[in-house]
């Protein structure tokens, strides 16, 4: 009975979404305030019914209702309740429902938090979001209905959730990632609304900025969680595999980062408008492309998602309609810029433009590396995939160049920066970074060009950021007062840039100085990795809720002292019969020690993977910095203050707004 209610709720919310995508838009074009006013209640209603459908599916999981096919395929009565809960989005259908829930949530957020925006803009933004929602709801209901029943042959028990996904990382990773993906839909909707009513101006950029930043923050967290999960759960100790699915999440992140910076220029200086709006469209298109790549199975991946050609075709159609419609609108409506250089060659505009060039190059590079196999296959030139070497060789120089430019860009001024002044400014940070880099290289005991480049870039970014903070916070009333005077968005930027420096440092150090050893060990054996001795004590067995595990007892010694006891496991899950490797990690801010048990080689010998991973935590720590920076930036007062003044302006000129929309019709 309940699942049918869920289905009904989903259908009702689809109807509301259809209304939402038509009524406010028509109202905005016809200049009918009463029709525009339908946007908010429709958005609310849509969210409520999607939430209801989601609650019903969750209920089916928690009560083990295996008559629902999706539950039977992705859950089991033996699962602990929290995995039953996270199993709701452990498969394709539930992931989509979660996606829709978030989209409806973002739509509701726009409806609630943009009361101070002109009603025409709100109406159009909500309508565009409604259209995107309609597409995804149709996709779900037609090709991937989570409420399909297995009647009358109800299975006695479920097929179990993939053991890889029975993990805390999976409970939080997809929601974060989707918040990011879907959040870019808001920036997209603002861009489309601006193109429709021809108001691509600084105000548009200011409204778009917080939504973009918050989506970007969620995406950063989502990607970091995915990397963390892969690190400890896949059992190999790698943190980034350049896997198509990972790349799919990196693509919108890169172009979203470009968008954030380009929006800053558009807001402050009113330039790069066409470029910014294109980035907003492309970023959302890349989010959709990511979904398509993951869900259609056109590329192989470690993420063994069920793939289905029918779903692929539908998603591609959805992607095509969105992209073709929005780019056509773009081609006809985007302002053709007459180049009038209002900024000098070393201005902040130029630095941010270069930042965009770098980030877009990186996006293209990752896109080419990911899609190249498909293109080759299309041209019938054979199947092959591009592996890590391609990405490492091409991506690293871009990352270094981006960092170097950023360090200089932090000091640049809008409109015009004097070259000699900038060079003098950079002298001290340059000297400090060089010395610090030399110290780090000596500390880790080894010079390679890549280690130098990576660590120097990280130092350079960090030193420049702190230097700038120090200078800006100088105040006659004391340092503390000066620090307090800086805005939250400035601190957001500081944290974001520091986060990047931290990620770069972590990535460089762990790739260049990490040690990996695969050894054959018998209980009693000792193996040495770097400064650490690993003693394999014995093998034991234990039973978990839905698995049995064999574990190894390891003591890790440094200078003769035991610094950690680790207990990596090999789990055999009783339902699916699958075997999982659970690594054990002694985590630290400066290094991780990682032990995983591999295959049993003979009666008492095991293949053991031992790893020393310096600074690996910094990858995720830096990502947290970035995300917190993003959240801090949107908490800045100026968004609220200016929005209030916008409101005054619009109530004062409602005639003007109506005239404006009348202009669109003619």
């Amino acid at each position: 009975m309940y699942p049918e209610l869920g289905q009904l709720a989903l259908i009702l919310s689809l109807l509301l979404a259809v209304l939402l995508s038509v009524v406010p838009l028509v109202g905005s074009i016809a200049g009918r305030d009463n029709l525009q006013g339908f946007g908010r209640p429709l958005a609310t209603g849509m969210f409520v019914f999607v939430a209801l459908a989601f609650a019903v599916l969750t209920h089916a999981f928690l009560t083990d209702d295996f008559s629902v096919a999706y539950v039977a395929n992705n859950s089991n009565s033996l699962l602990p309740w929290y995995y039953k809960f996270s199993a709701v989005w452990g498969g394709h259908e539930g992931s989509l429902l979660l996606w829709i829930l978030m989209l409806a949530g973002w739509t509701l957020a726009v409806a609630v938090f943009s009361r101070r925006l002109p009603s025409v803009v709100v109406a159009q933004v909500l309508s565009v979001l409604g259209m995107v929602t309609v597409g995804f709801m149709l996709f779900t209901l037609i090709t991937s209905n989570p409420f399909d029943r297995l009647l009358p042959n109800v299975p006695a028990d479920g097929a179990d959730l993939n053991p890889l996904l029975q993990d805390f990382g999976l409970i939080v990773h997809p929601p974060m990632l989707y918040m990011g993906y879907v959040g870019f839909a808001v920036a997209f909707a603002f861009a489309i609304a601006a193109l429709i009513n021809g108001r691509l101006d600084a105000a548009w950029a200011r409204w778009t900025r917080p939504w973009t930043t918050v989506a970007w923050s969620f995406l950063s967290l989502g990607i970091a969680l995915g990397s963390w999960w892969a690190y400890y759960e896949l059992g190999w100790g790698g943190w980034w595999f350049w896997d198509p699915v990972e790349n799919a999440s990196l693509l919108p992140w890169l172009s979203g980062t470009a968008l954030m910076h380009s929006l800053a220029v558009t807001e402050k200086r009113g330039v790069f408008k066409s470029w910014t709006v294109l980035l907003a469209i492309v970023t959302f298109a890349l989010s959709l492309l990511g979904t398509f790549l993951v869900r259609s199975g056109v590329l192989t991946s470690v993420h063994a998602f069920a793939s289905d050609p029918e779903r692929g075709v539908f998603l591609l159609a959805l992607l095509a309609v969105t992209v073709i419609a929005s780019l056509t609108l773009y081609a006809f409506r985007a302002p053709v810029v007459h180049v009038r250089a209002r900024y000098g060659s070393l201005s902040r505009e130029i630095f941010l433009l270069l930042n965009n060039v770098m980030l877009v190059s990186a996006t293209l590079l990752v896109a080419i590396g990911t899609l190249y196999p498909l293109v080759l296959d299309y041209l019938e030139m054979g199947k092959l995939s591009i592996g890590e070497p391609f990405f490492n060789i091409t991506f690293s120089p871009l990352a270094v160049a981006t960092g170097l430019l950023m360090g200089a860009g932090i000091f640049s001024r809008w409109k015009k920066t004097d070259g000699g002044w900038l060079a003098r400014k950079l002298l001290w940070p340059l000297a400090i970074s060089l010395v610090a880099t030399a110290a780090v290289l000596i500390g880790y005991g080894g010079f390679t060009p890549w280690a130098f480049a990576g660590i120097f870039t990280a130092m350079w970014v960090a030193v420049a950021t702190f230097w700038d903070l120090w200078e800006k916070s100088a105040s006659r009333k004391g340092r503390l007062h000066g620090l307090k005077r800086q805005s939250r968005s400035y601190y957001g930027m500081v944290l974001g840039h520091l986060g990047l420096a931290i990620v770069m440092a972590g990535a460089t150090v762990v790739s260049n100085y990490g040690i990996e050893r695969d050894v054959r060990m018998v209980p009693g054996d000792v193996a040495t990795v770097g400064d650490y001795q690993f003693v394999f004590r014995d093998i034991g067995e234990r039973r978990g809720a839905n698995f049995t595990a064999q574990y190894g007892n390891f003591d890790v010694l440094q200078d003769g002292e035991i610094i950690a006891s680790l207990r990596p496991e090999k789990r055999q899950y009783s339902v699916g019969m699958s075997v999982m490797t659970e690594a054990d990690i002694d985590a630290g801010l400066f290094r991780d020690i990682f032990v995983a048990v591999g295959e049993r080689i003979s009666d008492d010998a095991w293949a053991i993977r031992l790893q020393y991973k310096p600074l690996v935590r910094w990858l995720w720590l830096g990502s947290i910095f970035m995300a917190v920076g993003g959240f801090l930036a949107i908490a800045d007062r100026r968004y609220r203050v200016r929005e209030r003044s916008t409101q005054k302006a619009t109530t004062g000129t409602s005639v003007g707004t109506a005239a404006n929309s009348a202009g669109v019709v003619s």
Binding site: N162, V298, A320, A331, V375, M577
Partner: protein, 178 residues
């Protein structure tokens, strides 16, 4: 003229869309096996059920058979197992199992619990025959004709659809055209 440049993103997107569309439905794991048209490589391995029996490539002479590569460590093999049972029992297909990089005890427990669809099971704990066949994951299924020649290689799970649309046509072709 300047507006022309604004159409560029649209053009690029359309070209990309065509390529993506062509990619749908093509199986990215479909790799041509170098072995197709060649006999099954020579091997000498023990029978899974009766360790004293030694098996070799003559096993594949005389009738069209499927060679299914599996292991208890492979979750996808569990997925296809019921379909293999159906193929063996209801469709009367002769399937030779290649128990790949596995442990005999685990494998026997598995077959005991889930049923045994294999007419014969080759035990290949070190993966030597798998290596010669070019297996890079499990499950994989090969179609082998009466002369013991590999005619087709399928990577991934066999189910009713794969059987109907892919494997059965290959077998019918062998039966009709030799």
């Amino acid at each position: 003229m300047k507006r022309f440049f604004l159409f560029l993103p649209l053009l690029i997107a359309v070209v990309l869309g065509v390529v993506l569309f062509a990619g749908i439905g093509k199986d990215p794991t479909k790799l041509e096996s170098a072995l197709i048209g060649k006999p099954v490589p020579a091997f000498s391995l023990k029978d899974l059920n009766t360790p004293e029996t030694q098996l070799n490539e003559t096993l594949f002479k005389g009738k069209v058979q499927l060679l299914n590569v599996w292991g208890t460590w492979c979750p996808a093999c569990r997925d296809e197992h019921d379909d293999l049972m159906w193929l063996a029992e209801d469709e009367g297909v002769s399937i030779v199992g290649l128990n790949y990089k596995d442990n005999r005890d685990d494998a026997l427990v598995w077959l005991d619990r889930l049923g045994n669809p294999y007419s014969t099971s080759i035990y290949d704990p070190r993966g030597t025959l798998g290596f010669d066949l070019g297996v890079y994951g499990a499950p994989e299924t090969f179609v082998i004709d009466e002369q013991g020649v590999v005619r087709y290689r399928h990577v991934g799970v066999v189910n009713e659809k794969v059987w109907r649309e892919t494997l059965l046509p290959v077998i019918n072709d062998i039966r009709e055209n030799g």
